[in-house]
Structure formats: C-alpha cells, structure tokens
Symmetry: C2
Subunit: 379 residues, 2 copies
Amino acid sequence: MKLTADPSVISLAGGMPGSECFPVDQIRAITEDILASGRAARTLQYGVTTGYNSTREAVRGYIKDIGVDTESIENILIVSGGQQGLDLMCKAFLNKGDVVLVEDPTYLAFLQIVAGYEAVPVGVRSNPDGLDIGDLEAKIKRYKPKLLYVVPNFSNPTGKTYTAQNRQKIAETTAKYGVVIIEDDPYGRLRYEGEDVAPLYTFCGGNCVYVSSFSKVISPGIRLGFCTGPKEIIRKLEIGKQGSDVHSSHMSQLIAEQFITRGLFPTHLNYIKSVYRAKKDVMVAALDKYMPAKFKYEKAQGGLFIWGGFDEAAGIDTVELFPRAVEHKVAYVYGNVFYADGSGRNMLRLNFSQPTCENLEKGVKALGGMFNSAAAYKA
Amino acid sequence: MKLTADPSVISLAGGMPGSECFPVDQIRAITEDILASGRAARTLQYGVTTGYNSTREAVRGYIKDIGVDTESIENILIVSGGQQGLDLMCKAFLNKGDVVLVEDPTYLAFLQIVAGYEAVPVGVRSNPDGLDIGDLEAKIKRYKPKLLYVVPNFSNPTGKTYTAQNRQKIAETTAKYGVVIIEDDPYGRLRYEGEDVAPLYTFCGGNCVYVSSFSKVISPGIRLGFCTGPKEIIRKLEIGKQGSDVHSSHMSQLIAEQFITRGLFPTHLNYIKSVYRAKKDVMVAALDKYMPAKFKYEKAQGGLFIWGGFDEAAGIDTVELFPRAVEHKVAYVYGNVFYADGSGRNMLRLNFSQPTCENLEKGVKALGGMFNSAAAYKA
C-alpha cells in the first residue's frame, strides 16, 4: 500500500478493484433511500451480531445462485469483510501449535492470521487440477490439522481454479479424517472465460465453511462479507465476532442487501467482468511481447492476478530483483511470501485489475526490460 | 437484545442511545456530499489499517479538546467501535492465564473478551472516589497483571466518575509497577451535571491507552471508535487489526471525521444531553416514587445508566427475581454479570437513554410493584 502511493512507480503488486468498477451511483441511491426512510434510526442503532435477518436472507439467495444451498439464515453470519471470516475461523478452531494445511502457494494474509494465533501453516503440494490429493492425505495423517484453507476459484496468487473432480476428492479426504475446510471465495464471480465450477462447499457434507466478500464485486471500502456453514460452527463464529466488533456496519449491510434485492448484480458483474477481461488481455499481450522467453505464466480465466516465474535453473531471484524493478518504476509481489515454507523466490504475482490499460502495458514493458537486463547481467 | 425485541416488555436492560438522538440529517448530508464528490471512488476502495490520515487528524483535535494531547496521528488508530479497541488491547497484551485487573463491578462485555483470550479478570474494590488504591496495589503485587481496565467516566454499570485525585493515584500506582491501563471512555461527553474531570490518560506518562467510540455520541450502527496511546502500542494494535478486518468502513470514518471538522458536535451534544438529562430525571423521580424504601441508587451525573440495589441483608436476589420482573413487563440487568467474581446478586443496572419518558415511568412503576410484592412475599 505504501509503494502504491508513489505515483511514479506502476504497481502491479496490489489486489484492489479498479476504481472505475465501483457502483458509485447505485450506492448513492441506496444510502439516500435508507437515510430518507423510516429505517434510518434503526440503521444508526446497535444491532445483532449475526447481521440483519434481511441481509442474511438476501445473501442466502445470492449464494443459492451458485449452488450453495442453506437450510436457513442461521447458516449465515455477516462479517466485516471476508478477512474477518478467516480470522473468526482461526479464532474458533486454532490453539497455539495447531497445524493448518494450506495450498502452496496461498493467500499471504491468511498465513499472517495463522501466525497471529501462533498456529503453524503447512503447505500441501498442488498441480494444475487443484490440490495433490496424495500429499493432502499424507499431511492430514502426519500433522492432524484442525483446518484446511483453500481458495478454489482463481486462487490468490496463482489464479488457478480447482476441477470438480479435485473438489470431490478434497471433500472425501477431509471428511474421512474430520478436517474442517475454509473455502475462501472472493473471486468466484469474476470469471472471464470458461465454465464455472460448483463451490467446494457443495461437495461437502457439513465440514466446510464457505467465506466470501463483497469487496471485489461491490466495494472493499464498505468492509462486508459473510460466512456460510453448519449452524454450530456459525454460532461459534458469532461468539467470536461479538467480542471483536459487536456487529458489522449497518449501512454496509444494507448496501450489499439492496444491491442483491434490487437486482443490480447481473448488470454490474457484466460490466466489471468486461473491464477486467480487457485488462487481463492487455497484460497477457504485454507479457508475451516484453518478458524474456523463459518467463512462464498461467493465463488466468478469472480473478485479479497472473502468476508466473522462471525455472529455478534460470537463477532468477524475484526478491533480490525487486529493488531493481522499483528503479524501473514497476512493482510486483515476489512469490515466496505466498509459500508456507518461504520457497517460491523464482515466482511473482502480477495484478491487472487496478492499473489502467496504459499502465499495464507500460508496467509490463518496464518489468520485461528489467528481467531482460537481469538475465543479461547474469550471463 | 432478544428481550428488547418483545414489544410488551419495557426494557431498562439495554445500553443503546435513544433513537431520537441520531443525527440522521447530518449523516445524510455527509454521505451524499462524499458520494457525489471526487472522493467517492477512494471511499469505496481499500485503505490503510490505521484509518484515513484525515480522520485520525480530526480525532486528534476532538480529543485535544478534553486534554488528551498527542504528538501526532501515529498515536491514533481508528477502530470498528470501541469494543474492537478493547479486543485489540487484549489480543496484543494477553496470553492464556494472564491476569487483568478490573473495577468490581465492570463492563460485562470486557469480561467476555478477557474470557475469550483465556485470561483471568480479577476485581479491584472500589469506593465513591474510584478505585480503592490500597486494594489496587495489593492486587498488582499479588497477581502481576498485564493490564488494568477502567471506565473512569460514568462507569458501566455504576455510573460513577473517578475523582482527579483518584486518577492521579491510579496513574502513580500503575506506573510504579509497569502496568498498562486501558481507559475506556464511551460516555465522557455525556455529562448532565457537575464538572468534567480530565481523562486518566492525562495523568499518565505512557502506560495508558485511551479508547473511545462514536457509538454514544453519533451512532453505534456505523461501528467507529479509536485508540490513543504510545506509538509502539498503537503499532501493535494496528498489526492485530490488520489480521482482523483490514480497516474500518471508510464511510463510517468519513461520517465521524466530517462530524468533527464541520463543527457539528457542540450543537448535537447539547441536544442529546438535554434529552438524556430529562430522561434521567424522569427515571430518578420514578425510582423515588415507586421503588421500596430499601432500594438505594446512585444519582448518575452522566452516561446512560443508574445502578442500584439492596443491602445484602434484605435478601433480595435480582437474578431470581428477573423472570418475575419480565412477568411485570419490565427488564433490567442483574448485577452479578458485572462482577469478576460473580457477586452482586443484590444489585441491578437500569438504562434511561433508550426508553421513552413514558416507558421510563411505566417501567420503573412495574419494577417497583414487583420488588414491593417480592419484599412482601419474603416477609
């Protein structure tokens, strides 16, 4: 965030929505309607920790659309952004020294949350289909983890989506050993190509908590997300949230609720997907044009990121080269921060949602220049 | 909260602002101005964990007015309600088994937060001036506590305000033994009679974190508060907040900020104080009129609560009698929930901010009827 504040450096390091993608007019209309209505005082008053029932009901419909079918609103907890959902899961399940399995690589901030509870993240190997099931089972047996954390849709950082078969096997394997899954799905609605895969939650029988957020599809500044799962787990999360922030901002709850119930999502999602698809295409074209031939990357079908890197044999260290990239006026995130074991120094993550198309082209060009000169320097 | 949803029971059990006290029009004007301005996209985007610099600067001025003078905005962290400030302090300072000193009685939710960290609250005796300094020192020596938690202004539940002399002695005693203070001050601006006493923070030399909230003076539904203290502690709280909810709602931050910078507080505070003063007077008059002679209470000079009870010799048990009160269509909070050791079953807390004046009169009348019949029944 501090780097992105320097206007002369093009940041491909962020994970933020493009500022042209915020539905300002719709949010303005919703807040005005609420504050001009008889609901204003109730909106400004204290409320219950679970969130408004009407908001939970709206969320219930929103996720039913993607196959996450819940018995009642008691399966849903409104939280202050998806991150709070992850934190509450850790608070509810982890004690000092407990092991959490994660995909290697995985979401950086989740590793930080786990560290905050003095628990131990252990990486599970992955492959193009998703998790390596053999390694998953071996590590469950070896470490007896409390939780498995995965981002099956357009994973951060890799942009990868797990296949349905892989999800089925993850569900079976975790059920066999009684491991609870956190399915983190902030990006699932942002698919630009290919077919949707049903949430991992739908393959599971009560050992999965589905966590999602409105940050990438409405606005991160409103800090709103939700957790879905078995009532007894949701109740535990509610107790954790009660002590943490009592409840989430009512205005934020109503913005998300009204966005759903007024039917604003289909049009808005189509719009932001068209923006991000175009940006992704610009980045892909620039990578092909400017990066050294040895640079390999995944053509993400959705989400916000492109993940790429060099064979370890190439001897490129993205951590060491980072200051040189900044000299070239471009920033990325080096790969090792996403690995539970700190490996991945040959990899990097690039974001295409936030920069303008012009800056995507310029930034990748600068990056290519830097890596080409770095490769030349090595040789 | 569930009880207060039954409309036939008058709840004197809450701790909420009166719904006539929300500055709906001002908040409506602020949100409309922001969403119609060039600031809209930045408001809807991610931000830094500390809170907007402009909001921190506004808060810095807001607390300077009451003597809390800070070197810079780095002494201030914006949080999602005062409760999050308390939670972050516990997260930063407490490990399993650590002792936290609290006034007996103290804020119920704080005891719950402490329990969530598997730490142990120990009560310090109090007197009309504040804490019993001899008992404070004895318990510091005996328990080596990590933290002392106090609500020196219009304490919840007792409504009591610590004298300046008592604050000075608390500051000296905690400094002597290196105990960190959490000064929780949600009610300090709500004084209806008497003179303000400078915050405990102003008597301390770097071992006090001042936590406050906009819940009681603007709106609890926006979930906004702040922590003020030494930079190294604020930095620890920031790290805790980063993992917990990334940052607080931007719109909420700007509502509080603009409320300060537009100079709306003086007029608004005068208005809500006049409402609450009148309600408090109605409750006091009703208590004098309807309650048994043996009922003793404190005439709070501010805040939201009246605390009262019976001599233990009277044999009145407010926990046992609670269902009978509900039969009489009135609810209160029994005293024992505010004591670290579970004593206080002869006491109760009454709220006067939320009910209408009519319901305050009716509720206290019902309560008096119940206690009079209970006393008769006993005899």
